[in-house]
């Protein structure tokens, strides 16, 4: 009777989880700007799902790589992620946040603001990989 209904609610915005995802975010920022596609794709798990805005659902590393290759057809001069909330546990972290990407194309720069949800899963190696990555725009692009 004591155990029944006892649900362990993970503490939201746990400082340890926050530190983990902020580190992962910082890594992703550098890889995107440097267009290091191998290392970037390595941040996703083999069965991950990527749901970029204005696309379909991409499953697995081969498809996700192709999407990032297309993304890098423009020059990403800046890319920033800011975590707003984390929840879950050390095995699986649910991250929400916002960010922007600054791209340069045909000599013109534009900034796209977005918000996202990432689901990170701790692997047997101890490292974290994305199992779901979805983002959308804040306001219509001008």
């Amino acid at each position: 009777m004591v155990l029944h209904g006892l649900v362990l609610k993970a503490q939201e915005n746990d400082p340890e989880l926050l530190q983990i995802v902020e580190g992962l975010g910082a890594k992703m920022e550098k890889l995107v700007v440097a267009e290091e596609i191998d290392a970037l794709v390595d941040m996703y798990s083999e069965s991950s799902q990527y749901l970029p805005d204005q696309g379909r659902i991409y499953s697995g590393l081969t498809e996700i790589r192709k999407v990032w290759e297309l993304t890098f057809q423009v020059d990403v001069v800046d890319f920033e992620l800011t975590t707003s909330k984390v929840g879950g546990s050390k095995d699986r972290i649910y991250e929400t946040g916002s960010g922007f990407s600054k791209i340069s194309y045909n000599g013109q720069e534009s900034v796209q603001k977005f918000k996202y949800v990432n689901i990170w899963e701790r692997q047997t190696s101890g490292e974290y990989k994305l199992i779901v990555d979805i983002y959308n725009r804040d306001i219509p692009t001008k």
Binding site: V7, D53, K66, R92, Y94, I134, N136, R137
Partner: protein, 157 residues
């Protein structure tokens, strides 16, 4: 005393088995499909109370072309605005669902048709809902977001 301890141990075992059974993949998908039916009905009937009942008090909702919304008050305003549109169709398609601990994440597609003054227009979206089990055993939305589904020409299937 030993009799009561034995009964208690048996009860714990049954409860644990029940929980494990509900976390089989088939069980997870069935649960999500039940929740999808409730969601579809709530949207079709523009029932604000019913849709809000699906969210946790401190849920976070990241709607397309909008800022991040936290908490039921903000989320309710967003749904109120959504319900001003005339929806002829709102169907949810489950693509994948996965349980881990108290959470289930659901990836899916939305097939909608909007009524316009001079006709109708389709709305295709893809979404992520993260559901969290509540103390009463029901699931509520912890995080939710969606964006447009666009079938690109250049990335192969």
């Amino acid at each position: 005393m030993k009799y009561y301890l034995l009964c208690f141990a048996c009860w714990i075992g049954v409860e644990a088995s029940a929980q494990e059974a509900s976390f089989s993949q088939a069980g997870v998908e069935a649960r999500i499909q039940q929740l999808q039916l409730i969601y579809e009905e709530a949207v079709a009937s523009k029932n604000l109370r019913k849709i809000m009942n699906l969210y946790e008090d401190d849920a976070v909702y990241l709607p397309f072309q909008h800022v991040i919304l936290t908490g039921k008050n903000e989320i309710k305003k967003a749904w109120d605005r959504t319900f001003r549109a005339d929806l002829l169709k709102f169907d949810l398609e489950l693509i994948s669902a996965e349980a881990h601990g108290d959470f289930i994440f659901e990836v899916g597609r939305t097939h909608a048709i909007f009524k316009l003054p001079n006709g109708q227009a389709p709305g295709e979206f893809k979404f992520l809902n993260v559901w969290r089990r509540q103390p009463d055993g029901n699931y509520k939305i912890f995080r939710a977001t969606y964006n447009q589904w666009v079938q690109p020409k250049s990335v192969s299937n």
